[in-house]
């Protein structure tokens, strides 16, 4: 099967799943979570990948690298678009305090627990893997919040805080992930060259955003807007791909700058709305297909990962409440609402895999691929929704 036919195949698979979902409105909470976070697409990816049916061989996956790069670029760009600094004024300072504390607390606690587990089980894990693992564990999926909102289970200020905290957490994750990828990049090492690359890549994203702003300022036509956006993202991902730095990070910075320039963001959203969901599902399929070998002991490690993540999510949420003025106004299990794992974690792990493509990246892929559906089910079980 040629690389392009594989894309078509993936597109149609993604569509088949999506159409079924559209046709049969799923009511069961846990099933909705599984569908929305792309668990079934992940499974399809795993099935058609080199590990099982081999419809997508490793060679084809290599040829499709440019598409994965574009999808990741797109994902980073969308996350970046959320960070409109002017709109942050709308949120209470307590929201920021809660989100930051939650993020930091979780990262520290999770690092300690990972070191403890690795020490107890005497696992041969490179220290380089700790940092991406922590960031992957920290990222929360907004899907649980979305499903809770649409089901009407959580409303008002609490829903507002949850949405803010998850979005903020993901922004921090992507930013930290980007810096981390440059620091641990074998091309640059831990010396001054990393600093140059960080500054250089930030500068390039700034340049691209500024150029977009200047080129797009007189454009009214939606098609031309779409063309410019695709063109700029291609240039950005092309350069990033060649420099072996994080794809989601550079496009994230591009998105952040763009959304903060005096540009009509509604036009931006409108021109990309059509391609957002299919590209997400495509990315999830790629994650599944990128798992080339399955290591059985990883099941135990993943189980430990999920359990420790759940406990620490709860603990971090519980602790972060005390950062705000009236901790009792928030439920003690608020951290559990951050349990979901989805798009951001998948994009980060794929980005990591694309850059390093080694045993560590395979470990991370397996952990995330299992955690995404498992967390959704686990969340339903803990919160006793439709179980």
């Amino acid at each position: 099967m040629t690389a392009l036919l594989s894309i078509i195949f993936l597109f149609f698979l993604a569509y088949a799943g999506f159409s079924i979902y559209q046709k049969y409105k799923i009511k069961a909470f846990s099933l909705r979570l599984l569908v929305d976070n792309g668990s079934f697409h992940l499974l399809i990816g795993l099935l058609v990948g080199p590990n099982l049916l081999q419809l997508l061989s490793e060679d084809i996956l290599e040829q499709l690298k440019f598409l994965v790069a574009l999808v990741l670029g797109w994902a980073g760009f969308l996350i970046g678009l959320q960070l409109k600094l002017g709109e942050l004024k709308r949120f209470q300072p307590g929201y920021f305090l809660f989100a930051f504390t939650n993020f930091i607390l979780f990262a520290i606690l999770f690092l300690c627990s990972m070191m403890f587990i690795i020490y107890i089980f005497k696992l041969d894990f490179s220290p380089v893997i700790y940092a991406p693992l922590i960031l992957l564990a920290t990222a929360s999926s907004p899907i649980i919040i979305g499903v809770l909102k649409s089901a009407g289970d959580v409303k008002g200020q609490l829903m507002h805080l949850l949405q803010f905290s998850v979005a903020w957490e993901n922004i921090l994750c992507v930013a930290s992930h980007g810096f981390l990828m440059i620091i641990i990049n074998p091309y640059f090492g831990f010396d001054l060259s990393s600093t140059y690359v960080i500054i250089g890549s930030l500068g390039f994203s700034f340049l691209m955003a500024y150029l977009f702003y200047r080129v797009a300022e007189n454009i009214k036509n939606e098609q031309q807007y779409f063309l410019l956006l695709v063109g700029f993202l291609l240039v950005l991902t092309g350069v990033t791909l060649n420099l072996n730095i994080s794809l989601i990070f550079s496009s994230f910075v591009f998105g952040v700058i763009l959304t903060n320039l005096p540009i009509e963001t509604r036009k931006l959203y409108h021109s990309i709305a059509d391609v957002e969901k299919p590209l997400y599902f495509l990315m999830v399929i790629f994650v599944g297909a990128s798992i080339v070998e399955f290591y059985l002991p990883m099941l135990t490690i993943t189980l430990v990962f999920i359990l420790s993540r759940t406990i620490i999510k709860y603990a971090a949420g519980y602790g972060a409440r005390f950062a705000i003025e009236n901790p009792r106004s928030l439920p003690h299990k608020i951290g559990i609402e951050h349990l979901g794992m989805g798009g951001i974690a998948l994009a980060m792990v794929l980005d990591y895999h694309l850059n390093f493509n080694n045993l560590s990246s395979q470990y991370l892929l397996i952990i995330v691929a299992i955690s995404v559906p498992a967390n959704a089910l686990f969340y339903s079980a803990i919160t006793r929704r439709n179980v």
């Binding site: 999506f18 040829q63 690298k65 200047r214 092309g238």
Partner: protein, 426 residues
Amino acid sequence: MIKSILFIIIFLLIFWGMQNIPIPMSSQGVSTLLVGIILLTAFLFADLLRKFHLPRLTGYMIMGILLGAGGLGFLTSEQIEDFHFLENLALSFIALTAGGELKFKVLKEKFKSVSYILAGQVIFIFIGVFISFILAARYFSSFSQFDGNIIIAFGLLFAGTALSTSPATTIGIITETGAKGKTTNIVLFITVLKAIVLIVLFPILITYANTIVLNKSGLDVALLVKFLLQFGSSIVTGIIFGSLIIWYLKKVKVEISIFLFAVALAISEISPLFGLDILLTSIITGIVVQNFSSQGNSLISGIEIFSLPIYVLFFCLAGASLQLELLSEALALTIFLVTIRFIFNFLGNYFGAVMAQEDKVIRNFSWLGYIGQAGIALGLGIIIKQALSESYGNLFLTILISTVVINEMLGPILLKWTFFKAKETE
């Protein structure tokens, strides 16, 4: 204007800079970057040309020439070859649009004009170019040594390819100018129908020229059967894809643009595997959706969002592929062929329009809408080259490419002017 030039220079410098940094570049990274650079520079350049009232398509092609091997050398012939799948995808997308614009209801209203003008063009151009070439061939150095049969064979093939008009140019200019009206409909119908006529006519022509005139052997039935099978299976595949789109547009109705993009991709990839004609398959798909369902408008609007990047890539790559250096090799013959094609195009169109009692604009100006030549002509040229012996094949293709270069550069400008003259542009 200076701003656009400055931006183009910045993008070109980015690409040049990336090529020269001391880090090993991945081919995937280079291709991704290059596609982005093509999209942005061609778009900006075309925008620049609009100030001189030139069509965007011309801008895309000129940028392609600048980026190509004859210009800055950013787009090498290997890279153009790598991007061949993009050209096929674009062709499929454009033909899908062309088929989607072919409404039987409107065609029925304009049937008299379309059929007379089409017949006039086919007869006048084919016979006119054929006879003119036979009479003049001996005066050109490339053909002065050839005997009569070879000249007849070449005459037939040049006359056949002279019939082709680029649906991509027509659709591209219609999309760009937002042209609507009688002239637009007639030009579009004739262009699409001519493409179908050519797909049917050409196998017969090649077989006749190659086996009977050049090799003086019997009719190659196997070759004809092969072409007929290709024709039939392309139609059947087009009907299947058309039905699939109708089902999707009726039942699923979400993210239509991406689905149509996937269908175009499927057609462009599946067609070469099964020996189908991409153009015919896509046109039939579009025709089926437009005329056998109520989903025609959804098809056209679904295609719209992707159309601009597709046109930019297609025409920019077409520009980069133009072998300008070949022009000098057979300049006199090229000018002769282009001129007689112009003359008989006008005559065929004029007589057809007079017979159909059409108005002055159609009679005197609409022939300018059929000048553009691109993919079909080159595609036919390649088929001819493969069917003929190497020396004849190369000679034919060299001259054909030279004529296509001129026609393709003039085509969009003249077509835009035709729609402007007919007062059908937005």
